[in-house]
Symmetry: C2
Subunit: 448 residues, 2 copies
């Protein structure tokens, strides 16, 4: 699993970008240099792990006490898994790293002049700082939509979506008016990227299989599930033939993909859709937002404090070694950073990018301690996968493309392998097995 991007690509990047090793030396030179990491997601956690054996003092700050395996969060939202199955306490993961301290803290500000991270509870001095605060949902300025269309970013939001999905069927069961019942039985997923496709596929499965026979007044399999995507096809970041395969799988699950369609309005009663300038109303009591994320507000803080430029998505533009221009002691990684992809564009906001950057930055810090040179960060693309329902997936790995059951097995294997904790892996595997053979989903409870 481990790659050392710093040692690769000797041909392409002959320039050594190592600068300012002094940034690591502590004033006075007596105590170990202090590395503060903000955010315990894919990037921050890998960075922390990479620093475990170095003579540095690591502090990992996160407002949660756990690492969340985001790629499976849609399964929590659809009642397939419990939050604890895909979450692991950060201090548990890092317990054997004697140089590492984990603290629950909401970071609000960064002071690069005094080298301080300011949290809601205290301030934390650093010699080197790694900011890996990730991304948050964006409603593109339509804040009122947030209330009607929860997104899938945190455990709490996933449970909110689960409650809404399950409650919609409960409401439909007791509703006698056919039109209102139809509105409760209509679901709109906004955004046809991997998250939206996986959510819609799971929803199709719930309606068709999981809930079948559980109700008396309604037939859950008659639920209408719409997947709205502005681009002309779902999974726009995948090759065209895979988008087509995904679309077919979705249709087979009863999902109706609406591509080339813009969401003009969202309210309590449903959505207003716009295609080719024509508007149309869709009555649906349950709307889920999978349309967009933007950089965490700390990106703006960094911009204001250091002058580092932001891109259109609000991400901090970083140097080839993931540090901030003029601040070699501050690294920004993961969804928060705009990192060049070497082809004129930027790397996508994906877990593998964040993980490799985390490992890379730990490697840069190790090299600086030894006054060694490092090469710029280079992302090794290992491909991407999206699953649709219980037996289908699509994936591309460079030029290799897979779809159908093989891709689904691959998806299963990859996600289990990356899940942290042996117990979690076994629990998730067993639940998937149950789910596969019985069509049942275990976590179908409505909580507050």
């Amino acid at each position: 699993m481990s790659s050392s991007p710093g040692r690769r690509g000797a041909g392409e990047h002959p320039a050594c970008v190592q600068r300012g090793t002094g940034a690591l030396a502590a004033p006075g030179g007596e105590r170990s240099p202090r590395v503060v990491i903000v955010g315990g997601g894919f990037g921050g956690l890998e960075a922390a792990k990479g620093l475990g054996k170095l003579p540095v003092e690591v502090t990992l700050l996160d407002r949660r006490n756990y690492f969340l395996f985001q790629p499976l969060l849609y399964q929590v939202a659809t009642g397939g898994l419990s939050p604890a199955d895909i979450a692991m306490p950060l201090r548990r993961i890092l317990r054997r790293q004697a140089n590492t301290r984990v603290l629950m803290e909401e970071v609000t500000d960064i002071d690069p002049q005094r080298r301080l991270v300011v949290g809601a509870r205290a301030a934390y001095p650093y010699d080197t700082l790694i900011v890996a605060a990730g991304s948050t949902l964006t409603y593109f300025g339509r804040e009122a939509w947030r209330r009607h269309a929860p997104g899938l970013k945190s455990v709490e939001e996933a449970l909110e979506i689960r409650n809404r999905l399950l409650r919609a069927f409960e409401e439909a069961e007791r509703e006698s008016d056919p039109q209102r019942r139809r509105a409760w039985m209509s679901f709109v997923v906004v955004g046809g990227g991997p998250t939206g496709v996986e959510l819609a596929g799971a929803l199709g499965e719930i309606a068709r299989d999981t809930l079948r026979g559980d109700f008396r007044s309604i037939r859950p399999e008659e639920a209408r599930i719409f997947l709205v995507e502005l681009a002309p096809r779902v999974l726009p970041s995948f090759p065209e033939d895979l988008s087509e395969a995904a679309e077919l799988s979705l249709i087979r699950l009863g999902v109706r993909p609406l591509t080339g369609v813009r969401v003009a309005e969202i309210d309590e009663e449903g959505v207003e859709l716009e295609r080719n300038g024509r508007r149309e109303r869709l009555c649906a009591r349950t709307v889920i937002w999978a349309a967009g994320v933007e950089a965490h507000p700390l990106a703006r803080v960094l911009h204001e404090r250091t002058g580092a430029p932001l891109d259109r998505a609000g991400r901090v533009v970083v140097e080839p070694d993931c540090s901030l221009p003029g601040y070699p002691e501050i690294f920004v990684i993961g969804d928060l950073a705009r990192c060049p992809d070497g082809r004129g564009g930027a790397l996508p906001a994906l877990a593998p990018v964040a993980m490799q950057q985390g490992r890379y930055v730990a490697h840069v810090i190790a090299s600086r301690l030894q006054n060694r040179c490092v090469r710029p960060f280079r992302f090794r693309d290992r491909g991407m996968l999206a699953t649709i329902g219980r037996e289908h997936a699509v994936g591309c790995f460079g030029r290799l493309r897979v779809k159908g059951r093989l891709a689904w097995l691959l998806w299963l294997f990859v996600h289990l392998a990356y899940l942290i904790g042996f117990q979690n892996r076994v629990l998730v595997l067993i639940q998937w097995a149950f789910h596969y053979f019985s069509y049942h989903r275990g976590a179908r409870i409505i909580t507050q």
Copy 2:
């Protein structure tokens, strides 16, 4: 598992208590009689199951969409299990019963004259009514305590307790003042019945084993855990020697039982304890309430509407066939009912009582349909068990008493056997096995 209490005890209760079979016949005699069940706990669910094959129309109302296996709720509160592991959707359990309809509804009133159950959303006419609404926490009039000392009754409360326990250690880790740190490291469980003992035991285990090595500034094993009980011994409903064994096991886990002690005050900073008239303050930031439950408010509604007497705990005093005096078509079962134990006392508020009553009432209804006589309800006591930590339990079954590892294995087996759903059983067993061998608890996440 199934017992038919109605057919037993021929010697003791020669009187046939069957009355008013007309109460079941629907007016007009065309449609099936309507049976409404309020509450999908142990009692209501067993009643619903017992009615599955009768020519009646069953409606089960519960404000939750799931049945909760309460006896394991303390494991959710202590991070050992996830809520979905011990909860099962009611409509899933009853899906094959074509005559049964499950609706999420909060019942607010009952109109025995018009034979209507009034809910927050609609009214439900009945020919026969089974009220099994259970119990709620009581703070004996000290409502202000509720905020400082959450109890263990619902999934939400269990998660609240889990959050507080985990957060207390997080706060202690970052607190530099020794006195305040000590307050964060002090835990008080109020009430030494089975729930309190199981909670305190699990807490002892968490502090001693689960969290060991996860922190840098504190040693979790130095946490102080107090179990406060007004009676002179813990588990006062158990035989004395078992109380003693339980107390020893608790002490071995680092729990300090304070028996013969009254809680005089609870606030944000801790508790005030009173023993022999002397008051003493105990600084503890985490207080858990396991001291008392009282009947659900529907007991009072029934009292006001039918004149049925209530006992001191607010339970409805029922006839020997679990019906209300003068209202043979209304049954009250489980924690809501005060049912004579045949020795001048009342049956305890335990799951086995509620389950047997549920089955009995279904049997009464079946008998009435056939104009058959039924004998009064008679509880078959199968004994009780309480577990303390990872290897100890105490139990008594009539004259047989067990303790130590054997009792613990028995406890394990019984709880797995009664858990609903094969998937839940496997998941819980696996988590217990992990927990046993690794000392780790999987659900250690703090959510909102």
